[in-house]
Symmetry: C2
Amino acid sequence: MKTLLLKKEEVSRLISMKDVIGAVEEAYKAFSGGQVDQPPYIGIHLPSGGEIDFKLGYYKRNEVISMKASSGGFPDNPTVYGVPSGMGTILLFDARTCALICVMDGSLLTGLRTGACAAVSVKALARKNSRKITSIGTGNQARMQIRAITEVMKIEKIHAWDHTQESLSKYKADIESEFGIPVIIAGSAKEAVQQADILITTTRGKGSLVEADWVKPGTHIVAIGTDMKGKQEFDPEIFRNAKIVNDSIEQCTDKGETWHPLNRGIIAKEDIHGEIGEILLGRKPGRENDEEITIFDSTGMAIQDNTTSYKIYQNAIEGNVGTFFEFIA
Amino acid sequence: MKTLLLKKEEVSRLISMKDVIGAVEEAYKAFSGGQVDQPPYIGIHLPSGGEIDFKLGYYKRNEVISMKASSGGFPDNPTVYGVPSGMGTILLFDARTCALICVMDGSLLTGLRTGACAAVSVKALARKNSRKITSIGTGNQARMQIRAITEVMKIEKIHAWDHTQESLSKYKADIESEFGIPVIIAGSAKEAVQQADILITTTRGKGSLVEADWVKPGTHIVAIGTDMKGKQEFDPEIFRNAKIVNDSIEQCTDKGETWHPLNRGIIAKEDIHGEIGEILLGRKPGRENDEEITIFDSTGMAIQDNTTSYKIYQNAIEGNVGTFFEFIA
């Protein structure tokens, strides 16, 4: 029995953002199409403040089971131990036999597939003439969002806001050099939000950052930062008259941004338009006019890891990349 | 960052049953000593009837996190796909950094550490002059139990019973040739049970197999077969006057053999003597006289995989066995 081993550097050249966007679209369709089994994830909190999580997903049609271990929150790793502050490992199993077909480094995967979410939602929900992105938050995931969205929409300007000037300046320099798209540093979050065709939040904040009356009609909102209880980025009033789309209604109403307006009674569960997978499957409409505000609440799902890592595996097999190892002779 | 890869054949020569018994003792002590974090396991049931489970354990003192993926119930694997009907993979992480330090084949681990349970319980709870084992059930795990117990107790005779004559004859031939211990095939379960100094059940049965009045005073019972809801091997009346020891009180009262007498009101939770780890730590007595019936109910814990696989890893490093692979350069 042969297991393919893939290093981080191999993974990085085996997959393009275009591939990831395709894989994430497939994941959403599979999920809303009843092709997915993904039990609640399990994790361990270390005394140092770091964390390691294990996310399991089964894609029935493809007969692939994935398990992603991913760690984060170890700031001393690089200096004290000479390893990254967050790492990841993915196991792929052939669901017909449960044979281990691949062990790959998974450090890059979460960032890539989370970026791709934005692009998928932009295709389904943003105005076709969207040219301006507003980015609230300027860290790694904010960059990944731009990388993904520019694959599917011609972006001409980015308005950015963050808590620290240093992070903003670095973001401006990096984005302008990587994409040649001018970045305007906003004087306030409000100023930035008012400019948005597409509004992205990646702050992982713990309170409302974006007020409802800042958001102009026709804006598409990509709410990335809230993926667990206690996190919040939006004034829940924004949800009152918006078209609300979730990656997983079950997850978003439990721990996503969508939980907040539900909890406050601003919306009822029936006010959620649907899951992005339902839109991609053609079961529900996406954007219906240029005036509506659309919100895509993304909490992240194991099936995204599954389809993305399997695509990497397929590309490796096709391109003869990687090292085979026989755990069982 | 280097990750050690270990094949099944390497794992098999890296660990002795003596090592496993030591590792399982350490696991029990760690668990009852508050050194363990092991979240509920997650799994996927495949349409074919097979299953794959993921068990996560963190041993705080050692700073080691283990994740065991183990599959079973794929009878067509050998003939149709050329792979075993059940397989396993273990990941070990350094808990200080969450770096992946080892990927090893885990096919042998569950069998070994489950066998070792019996030996640990026999040391703590069986009469020192126990010479006769009764084995109800004659499959792989029944053999593993003998392999483990003979490491800690001089066994002179084995009485065996099972549903099928064929399985019994094969067990007799195998055990007599491996250990030189005579195996007596019993005419009935009752006849076998009445002979026991140590009574082992490994049938994974779904109803009472062993009646209370068959068990003679002084018997030590190792209840292995019941590790999930719906399974049962004993008349719950056996628990009424016995010294009841669990691997994990939380697990055994939820899904072990101990659940049945609790559910029937035959015992209360306070009647459970304690956890085996408490006995090993010297916090509670083991067997106190030659007349009491002792029951060890074992449901299996992730921390047993943790300490056992880490011992294998240490032996590999010491003995220069295995292959290093750099997932992250």
